[in-house]
Symmetry: C2
Subunit: 378 residues, 2 copies
């Protein structure tokens, strides 16, 4: 089946194995995971379950790490709306990596990108979303020392002069081929990828030292670095390493990506600010079920967890492998009904979210401490 | 004859009348000049001699001026090398306008542009040229209050967020058509014109008021504003008015533009830092002469001032109309020899340059006071 994965469009049933081939990345194999585990002491369930499934040069990043050249992490967000659970997945793993590997995280808020690519979104709105979204990343438990949030339009004084160094070596041809741009694309969108390249080497400038960079991201963001990794090296900094995540599916199908672009977002996504009642309603009403049509039939033939959104979400949010395995078996055997599985997920999510929301609101008064300033990099 | 005029290429014998048609500008007519003279008290010789020959919306700018909505002036320089006399022409008139109309001048140094467009030029070099070139504009006699110099890479913190508002409304198609870009153009060059648009409305942002802007420039820069004037209006600021200058010719031909791009620049241009001996040598050796081959023939048939570079330069630098007329007549009549005309020019230029060079060096210690800071605009 046809599918599309670019930074601005994800559609169809995504074949992740084919993406690895098409994008020219490498699968995350057992040997490399073992090597990572040596440093982290354990493997996060998102890695054990292959939510992070592919990489570029993670081996090199670990080699540098082992030599004592510890580098930093970089990820980000295009602030065009509220944060939903799909956005949180790469951030949760990034937080874990930051903690276990004791690395600083640079988090980019691409308000310029969202303004340029989204019809009807003002720059002011995009910047305001950046500040709201920032609360979600802070809520994961960083100190201001560990997390520096780079809002593009607030940091363009240091970023634009670096971005043009990337831009000088990137032709329209290349962006056409990789991003699908054409003659009707606006010139800001064409330039933009150069701004996304900058945080991968900005810390090196400040440190006056070539620091290795690891970028955990959802696979749709890979094209940005596919076109700029070589250029980053040519302008004098290490090629960033990349860790690719697959997508958390939307409520209505276990395939694809949680996204607000098609139809009513409240039938597709769970916001990080949803209250327990809303979460319950959304899961019960919209989450696609792999169960049978009647209880009798379900008891007899069992459900299909592989296409069941509630089960799929549990693979992202239930840390305990044994519990997860039990759910899988019981659901398949018809012992666990679709409604029961949904209730397990609802309870799990509501515990996570209530905890997250408390930290998120607490973050509001400290927000400013996390925002990077041009002075930090000069 | 074929000629090309774009911001990055000027070649051939330029037909200025045809440019007015092709660019869709308007000739500067007697009526409009009279109106300008009402406010300036006199007309600068560069205007009397039609060095400034064309405009866009100067009538509107004067109308606003007459209503008391005084606005500001904006011009600039692409810092890819030292300043030569050709660069100074629009600046000299701009200084005169600033003085007579009591307007502030924003002067943009496009170090980003020159870095992006010029192979082999580093960004650091471009920025250093910007600082050197700044001395030449300051030397014209501005106070720091009257002249604010905007170095793009030093001001991108306030400029980039405004430039993307222009960029969102400008397609690659348009830049292709107007600037001749193609698929092999780098994405920074494609974006750049948006940065050149910003100083036309940045003062309005700071003043929280729609200020009229008048941009005196050499005609090759017109395409930048041809593509962005309408957009500037769409994002909420007045369309800037424009005054177009023709080019000071290079030493070797009275047609075309003084430029360093073809051959040895020292056979083409006079730098603002040239000493009297160098000026003398360059004019005597390289300035194309409209005189006859022998003194006898010249005395008999007379010279042709219209193709004589020395005479043409005097139309730019000799303020006195009567003197100029006399040179024209005497040269044509064969009374004035080519060498004599050159000596008149050499003496004239060396007085101007020695005066300029003193002020230029004096400007060095005050340079910093003239450089705009992001804080001025926030």
């Amino acid at each position: 089946m046809a599918f599309v994965v670019t930074p601005w469009e994800v559609s169809g049933e995504i074949d992740y194995k084919r993406l690895v081939k098409e994008f020219g990345t490498q699968e995350l194999d057992a040997k490399l995971l073992k090597r990572l585990e040596k440093h982290t002491g354990e493997l996060h369930h998102l890695i054990r379950r292959k939510v992070f499934f592919s990489h570029r040069d993670l081996d090199w990043f670990l080699k540098e790490y082992e030599k004592g050249n510890k580098g930093f992490l970089y990820t980000g967000r295009g602030p065009s709306g509220k944060t939903h659970l799909g956005h949180m997945i790469p951030w949760i793993l990034t937080k874990w990596l930051a903690e276990k590997l004791k690395l600083k995280l640079y988090f980019q808020m691409t308000d310029d990108e969202k303004f340029l690519f989204k019809e009807g979104l003002s720059l002011e709105e995009a910047t305001n979303y950046a500040l709201e979204n920032a609360l979600d990343i802070i809520a994961l438990g960083f100190t201001p020392e560990q997390l520096r949030i780079i809002i593009d339009t607030k940091m363009s004084g240091v970023m634009y002069p670096e971005a043009i160094k990337i831009a000088k070596r990137l032709t329209f041809s290349t962006t056409k081929a990789v991003f699908g741009f054409d003659n009707s694309t606006n010139v800001g969108s064409i330039f933009y990828t150069c701004m996304q390249a900058v945080p991968a080497f900005l810390p090196s400038i400040a440190a006056k030292k070539k620091l290795p960079c690891l970028i955990p991201l959802a696979i749709d963001q890979d094209p940005h670095f596919r076109v700029t990794r070589d250029i980053i090296q040519k302008v004098g900094y290490p090629k960033p390493a990349i860790l690719h995540a697959r997508f958390l599916p939307g409520l209505q199908s276990a395939e694809g990506k949680m996204s607000t672009t098609d139809g009513d977002p409240d039938t597709q996504v769970i916001w990080t600010t949803d209250d327990p009642k809303t979460v319950k309603k959304k899961i019960n009403k919209y989450a696609f079920s792999g169960g049978k049509d009647t209880v009798e039939e379900h008891r007899k033939k069992g459900g299909n967890p592989d296409i069941d959104v509630a089960y799929q979400y549990l693979t992202f949010f239930e840390e305990d492998d044994k519990k997860l395995e039990q759910y899988y078996k019981d659901y398949k055997a018809g012992k666990l009904l679709s409604g029961e599985l949904k209730t397990i997920l609802i309870d799990k999510l509501n515990v996570c979210l209530s905890n997250h929301q408390k930290k998120r609101e607490a973050a509001r008064k400290n927000l400013k401490k996390y925002l990077a300033t041009p002075e930090e990099f000069s």
